[in-house]
């Protein structure tokens, strides 16, 4: 058996029974990285030495803790390079932070470290999480393990590909408009964006503060529940984190789904949705019905405006969030500038890629005097309407079901010169961020050998319902999606 293929709960069982060690597990994952990452390119940084040291420490701690060992003790994890890891380069896949080593850990890292998980590396992404393919990484494009000519999705493409290719047992990503769920769908793994406020954003390099949320990539739904339990909870360092109790999801997800109601929005499955994707998702919906889930027609009338709303609010917040990269204190700094303004413009001109610049410009414009009301303020009002749509639908149903992505993984280069078609990659995921709702994506079939993602979006702080639906579907379908990567 190749240890790198294990899920978190499988590894837990073996570790608990003393049939393997964290050192063995970590070495297997490092060997897998060594073997395939030249092809997949999931990692910006592999932390070999640190991983080995942490694995040894985890084994020593397991000897002490015995049955009380925390669930993630000794489990190798990959972390999106937008989450601060103390002493380990955190680049956001940007020239701007190419050599930036943070002096502190993000709250999620503190939580993982407290459990004793093993950091194997930092994963590639679209620069500052802006993109849907990792093609906007300043360093390289990550390949989809199912077809290395195709993108893994984005922006958390590296984290999705690492888990799909068994280069990590689980990983963390961030989701601002679909950046966890869309790559999870395209790579055939489980990805969840928790409710806004569930996971502390402290130490997550901000893209769009009111939309960003950290979440897990895992090989199955059980792992999703396990990792979620580890990273959620209110944080005094994040004023937007919510004072909600963290449920025992691994147990809660097993509850029968009979009688739950899911809604299929009338406005979905329109033009642009791949027929094979639609077919697969509709089959999955039928399977849910067979499990006793009721399926309802619902309406989300402002769906058409979600994309425009998102592409005002996210860039507006980003334009302020990225203002700190000025070359004064850290990060790239232009050499030999003659004046402060030249230093600024050259530092930022050299340090940022084209997509980041595009969004900073759009966001700056949307907030400018004379345009604020027409753009930013209007977008905030539409945001309220979109949230109200969901609220209304949730009076009838417990979750919304849809494809995660309108298409399967697209070819590298296919959309890179067409921002609008790239933005459309996130059509089914954006509304969840705009409304702050939790969403999960899990594989529900293949089209031409490429994974298709099924998405459930739920009420605020009702991740339990999403995990129940996803777990029930996963159990019923009985398929484990593994790419035939050499």
């Amino acid at each position: 058996m190749n240890l790198s293929t294990l899920t978190v709960h499988e590894a837990q069982d073996l570790l608990g029974r003393g049939e393997t060690t964290s050192v063995e597990l970590t070495e297997a994952v490092l060997a897998r990285i060594e073997a395939v990452d030249e092809t997949v390119k999931a990692y910006v940084t592999v932390t070999v030495e640190q991983a080995r040291a942490q694995a040894q420490a985890a084994d020593a701690r397991r000897a002490q803790d015995g049955a009380d060992a925390p669930p993630l003790l000794g489990i190798p994890a990959a972390i999106k390079d937008v989450i601060n890891t103390k002493g380990v380069r955190t680049t956001c896949s940007s020239r701007m932070l190419e050599n930036y080593i943070p002096p502190y850990d993000a709250t999620v890292m503190q939580k993982l470290n407290a459990q004793g998980s093993v950091l194997v590396g930092k994963t590639n992404m679209d620069e500052f999480a802006m993109g849907s393919s990792t093609e906007h990484s300043a360093f390289f494009t990550t390949r989809n393990p199912w077809d290395t000519d195709r993108v893994p999705g984005g922006s958390s493409g590296g984290s999705a590909a690492a888990v799909a290719a068994d280069e990590a047992v689980f990983s963390l990503g961030s989701d601002t408009g679909g950046s966890i769920r869309q790559p999870a769908a395209l790579c055939g793994v489980v990805g969840m964006k928790p409710t806004y406020g569930r996971v502390s954003r402290y130490g997550l390099v901000a893209f769009a503060s009111s939309l960003d949320q950290i979440g897990p990539f895992t090989k199955d739904v059980t792992d999703c529940a396990i990792v979620l339990e580890a990273i959620c909870g209110q944080d005094p360092k994040d004023a937007t984190s919510a004072p909600e109790v963290v449920p025992a999801w691994r147990e809660a997800m097993k509850q029968d789904v009979r009688g739950l109601r899911i809604g299929v929005p009338r406005e979905y499955f329109g033009e642009g949705t791949d027929p094979a994707v639609e077919e697969s998702v509709r089959e999955a919906i039928d399977q849910m019905m067979a499990l006793g889930v009721e399926v309802e027609d619902v309406s989300l009338p402002h769906t058409d405006h979600a994309l425009a709303t998102y592409y005002i609010i996210a860039p507006a917040e980003a334009s302020a969030n990225l203002a700190r990269y000025d070359g004064i204190r850290y990060g790239h700094a232009a050499q030999d500038a003659e004046s402060m303004w030249e230093a600024y413009s050259r530092t930022r001109g050299e340090g940022f890629g084209s997509e980041v610049k595009r969004r900073i410009l759009v966001g700056t414009h949307a907030l400018s005097s004379g345009y604020y009301d027409a753009y930013y303020l209007k977008a905030q009002k539409v945001r309220t309407l979109i949230a109200a749509d969901f609220q209304q639908a949730f009076e009838w149903v417990d979750a919304i079901v849809s494809p995660t992505s309108a298409t399967v993984a697209f070819k590298i280069g296919e959309r890179i010169d067409d921002p609008i078609s790239m933005y459309l990659s996130d059509l089914y995921t954006l509304p969840g961020n705009v409304a702050g709702l939790p969403g999960i994506s899990l594989p529900c079939g293949l089209a031409d050998g490429l994974p298709i993602g099924l998405q459930f979006v739920g009420k605020p702080f009702e991740e339990s319902t999403l995990l129940r639906l996803a777990f029930a579907y996963e159990q019923a379908s009985g398929v484990r999606y593994t790419p035939a990567l050499a």
Binding site: A206, S209, A323, R329, S368
Partner: protein, 488 residues
């Protein structure tokens, strides 16, 4: 100042104050706000350095300070407030934006009435809101001629309160009086040192001058860089004169601009015109949820409000029967007022305490350039001295000498009197003996007295005083002399 020219025009002034708050920690992180004594860039953390991923958390104490100030300035405290980002690039602004408040500040629609001697007008307060301080830039030219700047982030994120007035102020003197009054209030509240000199309180002024009989125009000049109230007054005078001269020329070439006060040359210099002004692109701070201040919380803050200068002055006049002048003087600062009340409680004679404080204590403090807090005479010690005067243990004249020694050495009146044998002689038998001796030794004076030269008694009193080195109780000496001379 009412010259012909100034009568033709009216001056419109609005002020903005930035006040550093005396909280333990900074506005949005746990770093100490008392950074001044530390080496550069040592009182910093990911939050106040603007590191990637760091998030702000509100310091509730700051909100309390601001709401308290709003209450002292008779403001409305809305239940709903929010924070906004004010965007502009500068090396001393680590996030590239400042967390401030735009359209929903903590306090709105207040007012402050100036003292009678400052004209007694009521000035509207537009708002009081929260801001965070920037880092400190130092611009250096090296011996080689190379020019560079250094940034110290210790000050970054220190809580600031901004107080904005309505354009209700009509003269430079009134502007300075308002500033002093505001400083007195923040000091009373104990929320700031209010020191202009070290930047703990900063003032920007908007000023424009218009023909008295025409409607106001929409040009205004913002004046910055004044680091004392004296400078505020001088800068506004300069600007008033400058604008008046332009109007007098008949060709109004003024533009809306920012001008800096140059203390050394005593003039304002243009720094930035409207075309170069920033578009701050304010928008709601997504990292901080809007704040709902409950009525209970607001009332809780109100209960913590100390007695404010105006109320204290009224009470001193009513309770202690002080003059308007003395009451103003003794309520200048909370420390001074507390000192007065403590000493009065000990001496049971507020009038006497007020006299000693206004005539002696404040004068000595002024001369030595020190504050009441530095005074070596405790309120109890002053009370003791006053009781000694009343009991006749020392004379008023001796008390002057004793007080000066108390002020210099911090010794109590009793100790000084004992050490130097200064106690007043009030023993009647002892004084009768000395009087007898003086009468015996000065027959000429006694004869003069007996022949009707009543003034001769003054000479005899002087002789008694001389014999006792001034320690004799003059009342008793007089009485004893009268008795002795009548017997003759």
């Amino acid at each position: 100042m009412a010259t012909a020219v100034t009568e033709k025009y009216r001056t419109v002034i609005g002020l903005e104050f930035h006040v550093q708050l005396l909280t333990e920690s900074k506005m949005f992180c746990a770093c100490s706000a008392q950074y001044a004594a530390n080496p550069p860039n040592t009182v910093v953390c990911p939050v106040c350095l603007g590191l990637p991923g760091a998030l702000p958390v509100i310091n509730e104490k700051v909100i309390e300070c601001i709401v308290m100030t709003g209450m002292a300035l008779n403001s409305q405290i809305p239940e709903f407030a929010k924070f906004d980002r004010k965007n502009y690039p500068y090396p001393d602004l680590p996030k590239g934006y400042q967390i401030s408040q735009f359209d929903l500040p903590f306090c709105i629609e207040g007012h402050l009435t100036l003292d009678e001697e400052d004209g007694g007008r009521t000035i509207g307060i537009t708002r009081v809101h929260q801001e965070e301080d920037t880092a400190k830039s130092t611009h250096v030219t090296a011996a080689s001629g190379e020019r560079y700047s250094l940034v110290d982030f210790n000050r970054s994120g220190v809580p600031l309160m901004e107080v904005v007035t309505e354009p209700d102020i009509a003269s430079p003197e009134e502007a300075a009086a308002f500033g002093r009054k505001l400083r007195q209030i923040v000091r009373y509240l104990g929320i700031s040192t209010g020191n202009m000199e070290d930047g703990a309180m900063r003032c920007d002024a908007n000023i424009s001058v218009w023909p008295a009989d025409a409607p106001l125009g929409d040009i205004k000049v913002e004046v910055k860089n004044m680091n004392s109230f004296r400078a505020v007054e001088r800068a506004l005078y300069f600007e008033q004169e400058r604008q008046t001269r332009i109007l007098e020329s008949g060709n109004d070439t003024r533009v809306t601009e920012t001008r800096g006060w140059v203390e050394t040359s005593g003039e304002t210099v243009s720094q930035r015109t409207k075309e170069e002004a920033h578009d701050y692109r304010y928008f709601p701070e997504p990292d901080l949820p809007p704040l709902q201040l409950s009525r209970e919380w607001i009332e809780g803050v109100r209960e913590k409000l100390p007695e404010l200068p105006a109320a204290k002055k009224e009470r001193f006049m009513a309770e202690f029967d002080l003059s308007d002048y003395d009451a103003s003087l003794l309520t200048q600062s909370r420390d001074l007022a507390d000192y007065f009340e403590a000493a009065s409680a000990g001496a049971k004679n507020a009038k006497a305490v007020a006299n000693w404080m206004s005539r002696n204590l404040l004068q000595r403090l002024n001369e030595s350039g020190s504050e009441i807090g530095d005074c070596k005479i405790s309120p109890d010690a002053l009370a003791e001295m006053i009781l000694m005067i009343e009991s006749g243990a020392i004379s008023n004249r001796m008390a002057q000498e004793v007080f000066d020694q108390m002020f210099d050495t911090g010794k109590s009146a009793k100790v000084i009197v004992k050490e130097q044998g200064l106690a007043q002689i009030s023993d009647e038998d002892e004084l009768a003996g000395i009087v007898a001796t003086v009468i015996a030794e000065n027959p000429a004076a006694v004869q003069d007295f007996n022949q009707g030269k009543k003034r001769a008694i003054g000479f005899l009193v002087g002789q008694v005083m001389k014999a006792t080195r001034g320690k004799a109780n003059p009342g008793i000496v007089n009485q004893k002399l009268q008795e002795a001379l009548r017997q003759d």
